[in-house]
């Protein structure tokens, strides 16, 4: 099976040769997940995915007689 490769300043390198980290951020209305691959401290690949949990609510106000 082919190893996943990531393009770096030193050419295509296997993912396993890179420093990997992931991060979750939790907010009231969203969750963000990001993955980072680094080579010698330099970010070579970083993705981010935001899951919106809740949108905008507009309160409709009505005048009364």
């Amino acid at each position: 099976m082919n190893e996943p490769l990531i393009w770096t300043s030193k050419g295509n390198l296997p993912e396993k040769d890179l420093e990997y980290s992931k991060n979750w951020e939790f907010k009231d209305d969203s969750i963000k997940f990001s993955e980072t691959y680094k080579l010698n401290g330099e970010i070579v690949k970083q993705s981010a995915h935001v899951f919106v949990l809740r949108g905008h609510e507009i309160g409709a106000l009505q005048g009364e007689f």
Binding site: Q46, S47, V52, R54, H56, E57, I58, A60, Q62
Partner: protein
């Protein structure tokens, strides 16, 4: 039965559909953390928009196959697919997305802030909430 004072739910649905008409083209653009889009934004502007590899100014087209509807007295509407930018490099911190109606003079619809983010040679996605009266992207209660 008794008569009650209310804004009719059918009018709320019409109001949401007026904002995001199904036949219209909606778009989503990303903004730098240093920009100032928000409630006062009236229309899409390139000022403060992100730039980077594989990012097109003006953003992506929003898929919205379902018109606004209602449950109880709350009308709601949500795009029917995630917002996705593929293999982009956005090196300057960005934290907001503006959804706007490009058919209707680029008029602004809503802004969502998701916290400071950078992307390098990878994907950025925004997965939409469940389309219901509690979590839908736009809700008129």
């Amino acid at each position: 039965m008794a008569n009650t004072t209310a804004i009719c739910t059918s009018a709320k649905v019409k109001a949401l559909n007026a904002i995001a008409l199904n036949a219209d083209t909606l778009k989503a653009a990303l903004y730098l953390a240093s920009a100032s889009v928000g409630a006062a934004t009236t229309a899409y502007s390139a000022t403060g928009e992100v730039t980077g590899t594989n990012y097109t100014a003006g953003g992506i087209t929003v898929t919205h196959a379902t018109a606004a509807t209602s449950t109880g007295t709350t009308a709601f509407w949500t795009p029917t697919a995630s917002y996705a930018w593929t293999t982009v490099t956005l090196s300057t911190s960005f934290d907001a997305v503006l959804t706007y109606n490009s058919t209707d003079t680029n008029s602004a619809i809503c802004v969502n802030n998701f916290g400071a983010t950078t992307v390098t040679a990878a994907n950025f996605t925004l997965t939409m909430p469940t389309n219901d009266a509690t979590t839908g992207l736009l809700r008129l209660a």
